[in-house]
């Protein structure tokens, strides 16, 4: 009896203490409240010269000034630190008028000099410590602050992508960073750039970074000295979760108030939860089936045959992939610029329908006869291939592979999955001395950085052999168009060029784009004002989302 009473008392105590601990408490003591956003992608470092992670760049968007930012539709640019800008008639000189009387969070003046220092540091160390940022200053020959509020950037060619490129560069406080921008510049990469001794990071954005614990949480507090529209909230935290399920549970129980990059498997549950607002919109990420297009290929050369590639696309059931693998939270793909890329996506390119009979007819006509086991014979060997499968694709990608495998089986092509970690797949794709001579097929994805097409169009350039290229594709016509679109300042003409590039690529089929991921976010109904985009509610494109959010 005594034992029973003790157990009851213990259970009651745990329940009372637990109940006291898990209440959200998100409104906080300040007027605007605070909230916690969950993510399964961590901030690897807060040093802009070191990081590669999307969430690090998103954090910089909120703590540092950028010259410009995207509008809510991600289709044009709005003022940020630069209040206005103009271009010279030859397109080589860009003049930005920056916000007057701005200050950093520590009270030091924030001027065009800080922007000039940052850009010149990147230019100076671009072939070394600043290598991860130099792409944003491609073709820049000179940067100078001609006054406290005037920044002049000079280009060697009339570049078409100046604003998207500069939008990606955060302006750093010169009085903090100048001591590291000396000598060989290695110190730039060694500076941890985290809040220390209770002091926030010197910030110039709408928030200052007040606290950071790696692989746990980054806490952002409203920056009262911000030059732009002040945030409504007192601050927010970005909490890292190493498991989707734990994040979803935390969201549902009110431990966090919003979550980004949710898994499709959680969506139906979340949609049924009345305390949550769920966002399901078009995303930039796409999943692809790669066919090695390298002329250096030494075996299974039939895979270079356009008819085989076309038959393969006919045998892929994109709708089944979307409905079964992605539970409906994706869209069938067509080109490497998904609809979320806005004006750059070519809507005229329609993927081939799922048609096994048509695929078989194409292969029959091309002379690929079936062997006794039903597998077709090409150049004396069975059409039996290994598909390199990147770990990133696990889960929904496994199901997608099975659907493709089933379709291919019906047309006499056998494929086998070889699942490896991303780096191992990349190494296998590159082949001997980066010649792409060995692999046949692969499944992976791309996550374009932003709505503008420059980066994603570049991954199939001949110059990307051994680098971003994962297809071995190389076509001088394509490369020429890429160079041309980069200096075509007329938007309509540039769009036409980008369409032509997509068409060329679609017809050549180094990629068969399987699906475009939806952007899946959710937040408590107690909050309102989030600005959604193809990169989610917390992104590196605009300061709008977290400055506009407020308690409902």
């Amino acid at each position: 009896m005594r034992a029973r009473v003790s157990w009851l008392a213990l259970c009651a105590a745990v329940a009372v203490v637990a109940a006291g601990c898990t209440s959200g408490g998100s409104q906080g003591s300040g007027s605007g409240g605070h909230l916690t956003i969950g993510t399964t992608s961590n901030i690897d470092t807060l040093n802009p010269f070191v990081t590669f992670q999307q969430n690090s760049y998103a954090a910089f968007e909120y703590i540092y000034p950028q010259l410009v930012q995207y509008n809510d539709q991600m289709s044009d640019f709005l003022p940020d630190f630069a209040q206005s800008w103009k271009t010279s008639s030859d397109g080589l000189t860009w003049t930005f008028d920056t916000a007057p009387n701005a200050t950093w969070s520590d009270g030091q003046p924030l001027t065009a000099e800080d922007a000039a220092f940052t850009f010149n540091t990147i230019l100076k160390y671009g072939d070394g410590p600043a290598g991860n940022l130099i792409g944003g200053l491609a073709n820049v020959t000179k940067v100078e602050a001609t006054g406290p509020n005037t920044l002049v950037v000079t280009y060697s060619v009339p570049a078409a992508n100046v604003l998207p490129q500069l939008q990606g560069l955060s302006i750093l406080p010169e009085h903090v960073w100048s001591q590291y921008a000396t000598g060989d510049g290695k110190a730039l990469r060694q500076f941890p750039n985290v809040p220390e001794d209770g002091q926030p990071l010197v910030s110039g954005g709408p928030f200052e970074l007040a606290s950071y614990t790696k692989d746990e949480v980054a806490i952002f507090r409203k920056n009262p000295t911000f030059y732009g529209t002040k945030p409504s909230i007192d601050g927010f935290g970005l909490q890292y979760f190493s498991s989707d399920d734990a994040m979803v549970s935390a969201l549902r129980s009110g431990q966090i108030q919003a979550a980004i990059n949710l898994p499709p498997t959680a969506m139906n549950t979340l949609k049924g939860d009345g305390s949550l607002t769920v966002y399901d919109g078009p995303g930039l990420q796409f999943r692809d089936f790669i066919i090695n297009s390298s002329p250096n290929k030494t075996q299974n050369l039939e895979l270079l045959d356009p008819k085989v590639r076309m038959a393969m696309e006919y045998a892929i059931d994109r709708d089944a992939i979307v409905q079964t693998a992605w539970l409906g939270y994706a869209k069938p793909g067509s080109t490497i610029l998904p609809p979320a890329a806005g004006v750059w996506h070519d809507p005229n390119i329609q993927p081939l329908p799922y048609d096994i009979d048509k695929a078989n007819a194409i292969l029959d006509a091309a002379g690929y006869k079936r062997g006794p086991d039903g597998i077709r014979i090409a150049n004396g060997h069975p059409m039996d291939y290994t598909v390199l499968f990147a770990k990133d694709e696990s889960g929904a990608g496994d199901t997608a592979f099975q659907i493709i495998q089933n379709g291919f089986q019906q047309i006499g092509i056998k494929i086998t999955q070889r699942k490896e970690d991303n780096d191992a797949v990349n190494t296998a794709i590159l082949g001997d001395n980066n010649t792409y001579n060995t692999f046949d097929l692969a499944m992976w994805d791309w996550y374009p950085c932003c709505p503008v097409p420059d980066f994603i169009l570049s991954v199939v350039l001949c110059s990307q052999y051994g680098s971003w290229s994962d297809t071995g594709f190389c076509d001088q016509r394509y490369d020429k168009m890429y160079d041309q679109q980069g200096v075509t300042r007329n938007q309509a003409a540039r769009v036409a060029l980008v369409y032509s590039m997509q068409k060329l690529l679609y017809d050549a089929r180094p990629y068969i784009v399987l699906s475009n991921d939806d952007q899946l976010n959710a937040w408590s109904t107690g909050w309102d004002g989030f600005v959604e985009s193809s990169l989610g509610l917390f992104n590196n494109l605009s300061k709008a989302s977290l400055t506009q959010v407020h308690p409902a």
Partner: protein, 324 residues
């Protein structure tokens, strides 16, 4: 003399084990295709020039033997585990913070497991063949067989509305709302409940079965029969004679378990987003962060070797016959 010989031998084997483990740790990750730099191949900001720079900065352009010599030199003579490839910060300080987080949670989980395992194993042996025995043995086998992550997920499903399911503390609330040391400690304690209980449920079955088996063996010994014949009370027979003699395998198992305290929590830390060394290993594997992996595996190795050594000494102390 024999005792000294024994200890010296054990120390020698421990040092050799650590050295071999260090070497294998170094070679193992480099034997995989790719490297920390090619791992950046799909990052939009990683230009070929940058990757060349990083290859040089990380020392990956050096011959393997030279990388190994540099690593050993830094580790042995300077106690320096290197610089993390992921964030360019010293591995030693990063791992120290993670280790602290892991030890707290895993110690609680392991302690719970030992207590539950010893008590249920003891009761099962004492009441052999009865309901208590069946219940203890069955539950031990079931939980021992269940994967850690499954138990963790079930606990999250069951307790998500009443207990924190992820992280080590609610830093955001504490920051904006303020909080006393006591409330912060309470917060950590509450966040620790589910991962520690998961670990305890995963581990206790092994203790139950070993304790039960050891107890049954000693209960059948002649000296227990003699004690019964002398008319000693049952409690005294079981506690003073049977349990005491069953301590040898139990103590060894406990010492060995403590060695795995650091390594044993990787899955638990991933499921509950606990920011410990297991989670650090997981992240480092994904990014091919060699220095971080080498440092983490060195700590795991040292932990296992140290507690094995303690187990050896304990064995020696509990059973002096082994030197005879």
């Amino acid at each position: 003399m024999r005792r000294t010989d024994y200890v010296i031998k054990r120390i020698f084997f421990a040092v050799m084990t650590v050295f071999v483990a260090i070497t294998i740790n170094f070679l193992l990750f480099r034997a995989l295709p790719g490297s920390a730099v090619t791992n950046f191949a799909r990052a939009p900001h990683a230009s070929p020039e940058l990757r060349a720079t990083l290859t040089h900065e990380f020392g990956l352009d050096q011959p393997l033997w030279k990388q190994y010599a540099l690593y050993l030199n830094q580790l042995v003579f300077h106690g320096n585990m290197g610089i993390s490839f992921a964030d360019n910060q010293p591995v030693t300080s990063e791992l120290a913070g993670k280790l602290k987080n892991t030890i707290g949670m895993v110690f609680v989980g392991t302690f719970l497991a030992i207590v539950i395992g010893v008590v249920t194993g003891f009761l099962a042996a004492w009441r052999r063949g009865g309901a208590v025995d069946h219940a203890s043995t069955s539950s031990a086998i079931v939980f021992y067989a269940l994967p850690t992550q499954f138990i963790g997920m079930m606990l999250i499903l069951l307790f998500a509305s009443v207990l924190p399911t992820a992280g080590m503390r609610n830093q955001v609330n504490a920051f904006f709302s303020g909080g006393s040391t006591w409330s912060n400690l309470k917060d950590i304690g509450l966040h620790m409940i589910l991962p520690a209980v998961t670990l305890a449920l995963t581990l206790f079955g092994e203790y139950t079965l070993v304790v039960r088996s050891a107890m049954l063996e000693t209960l059948g010994e002649d000296y227990v029969l003699t004690a019964r014949a002398k008319g000693l009370p049952q409690r005294r027979i079981v506690v003073s004679h049977a349990l005491r003699n069953a301590m040898l395998p139990i103590a060894t198992l406990v010492a060995l378990s403590l060695g795995f305290i650091v390594a044993g929590a990787i899955l638990v830390e991933i499921v509950f987003s606990w920011p410990g060394i297991g989670q650090a290993v997981y992240e480092a594997v994904a990014t091919r962060d060699y220095p971080m992996l080498q440092g983490a595996f060195l700590i795991l190795t040292l932990s296992v070797v140290f507690f094995n050594f303690i187990a050896d000494l304990l064995y020696f102390k509990l059973d002096p016959r082994i030197t005879e």
